[in-house]
């Protein structure tokens, strides 16, 4: 008796809520519930910041009727998040923002998921990597740095283990014939501070993680791991701008690495649903807040969707497989 009373009350109250929020019928698909963005990494990291920025931009400019909710599922180097999305087939209200652990985690830990399990939506940006050293150190360019590193015992601090930072380190070792001691930390900010405090000899921090120390005259960028110099000309430290950092390749260190900041949907999402989110991200990209974010982090603003994006992801997967195989990071079991 109590129960029937309770549910009828509940129904009445909730029906009122529905009536107020309304459910418009239109030809195009659009979300009927709050949209969850799963972040397969901890709070405060690059992916988390981007997801929360998008949440804010969508809310501020009213780009979607339903709100966005950001949920962190960082366990097991992100597998917690990926497995959750993999297991939510057919739920169009769930997106995942990826970083390189889309490739590195299944390869390195043998977790049962792969990029093929998810429905690709769009690449929003690529995160750059820069080789940093402490500004007090005498080496001013890559050649001098590598010559000094040949003596051995140089410590490279990086984020996580068997992930992007360690993969780049292994690639540098191979390309230049040097050996580093790789020390893993939990977050990029912590890594940069280890370098400022002279507890490490070099890092491959993302621009946004190290820019403050560069401006403060504590760190020095040596080269950027991209095919061409960064396009941002604004002066940052003295006369130097992001654009004045040479590419590593031009300095005789043939290593390139960019990290995906893109979105995927749950398995089995329909083209209609994908199209809605692609359009949404296009609108996000047009806002001034997004441009500021790109500028601050010196991101590579390449945008891709559809077939182009799928092919890019497949190529990256192969590349990670090869890089990790050479470095001996593949899971053995």
């Amino acid at each position: 008796m109590i129960q029937s009373k309770s549910s009828s009350l509940f129904v009445a109250a909730a029906a009122l809520g529905v009536a107020l929020s309304g459910t418009p019928a239109s030809a195009q698909w659009e979300p009927q519930r709050p949209v969850e963005i799963i972040v397969p990494a901890g709070t405060g990291g690059g992916a988390d910041q981007m997801a929360r920025a998008i949440q804010g931009i969508v809310a501020k400019h009213n780009l979607m009727k339903q709100p966005i909710i950001v949920i962190n599922k960082a366990g097991g180097a992100g597998s917690e998040g990926f497995l959750d999305v993999k297991g939510s087939a057919g739920n169009p209200h769930k997106l995942i923002i990826t970083l390189s652990n889309l490739f590195t985690t299944p390869l390195g830990t043998n977790q049962p998921f792969s990029y093929k399990d998810f429905t690709p939506v769009a690449m929003l940006a690529l995160d750059e990597f820069v080789l940093w050293v402490n500004a007090e150190k005498p080496y001013k360019n890559v050649k001098e740095f590598l010559a000094a590193a040949k003596a051995g015992g140089f410590k490279m601090a990086g984020t996580g283990s068997r992930q992007e930072d360690q993969i780049i380190t292994a690639a540098i070792e191979k390309a230049a014939g040097v050996k580093f001691i790789y020390v893993p930390y939990r977050g990029g900010g912590e890594v940069a501070v280890q370098l400022v405090g002279n507890h490490a000899d070099a890092t491959v921090n993302n621009p946004i993680e190290a820019v403050a120390h560069w401006r403060g005259g504590k760190l020095r960028p040596l080269c950027v791991f991209d095919a061409k110099p960064l396009p941002y000309n604004e002066k940052i430290a003295g006369d130097a701008a992001w654009s004045s950092i040479p590419t590593c390749k031009s300095q005789g260190l043939d290593v390139e690495y960019l990290m995906l900041r893109g979105f995927f949907m749950t398995p089995g999402a329909t083209p209609d649903q994908v199209k809605f989110y692609v359009d949404l991200f296009q609108k996000v990209r047009a806002t001034p807040e997004w441009k500021d974010l790109m500028n601050n982090g010196a991101f590579n603003t390449t945008f891709m969707t559809g077939k182009e994006y799928v092919e890019w992801v497949a190529r990256e997967h192969t590349r990670h497989f090869n890089l990790m195989k050479e470095a001996g990071f593949l899971s053995t079991n």
Binding site: M1, I2, Q3, K5, S6, S7, L9, F10, V11, A13, A14, A15, G17, V18, S21, T23, Q32, R33, P34, E36, P67, I69, I71
Partner: protein, 166 residues
Amino acid sequence: MSGDGKAANQGPAHRNIELAAAGLMGVFAILVVYGALQAGIGWGFEGPKAGFFPFIMGSILLIATAVNLWNGWQGSKTKIFAEWDQLKQVGAVTIPIAIYIAAIPFIGIYVASVLLIAYFMMRISSYGAVRTALVAIGVPLLTFIVFERWFLVTLPKGPLEAVLGY
């Protein structure tokens, strides 16, 4: 502690529970040591491997457990853990909580909470139907509004919420 010096046949012996607790810890310790061995317990160039610490912790725990087992064995045989009536009370909440948790994936946390509060108010205390209904429905409903609407925290929801569009 409680029931000290009372007749021994009114509840399980404290000693038995003590031994069971220590035994449980022993099983846990063996599990940890086994898992650590799987992960590798060596001490390489890069310092200890993944299993090194769990292995040490598990091993010392095993030793500590052995001492606790021995001490437990020596303990008083007459002291009781708790009276059966008291344990019945504990069971009277533990089992409903277990059912409550088991029900969450199926009917959602809000509906399950309505039932839990109603059970507590009517069975464990004896409140009337009206007051029970008021609290049992009001509190989860308020919680729903705070979490789902204001703070946008999504909690497990069941068919009722799905029908209502959440």
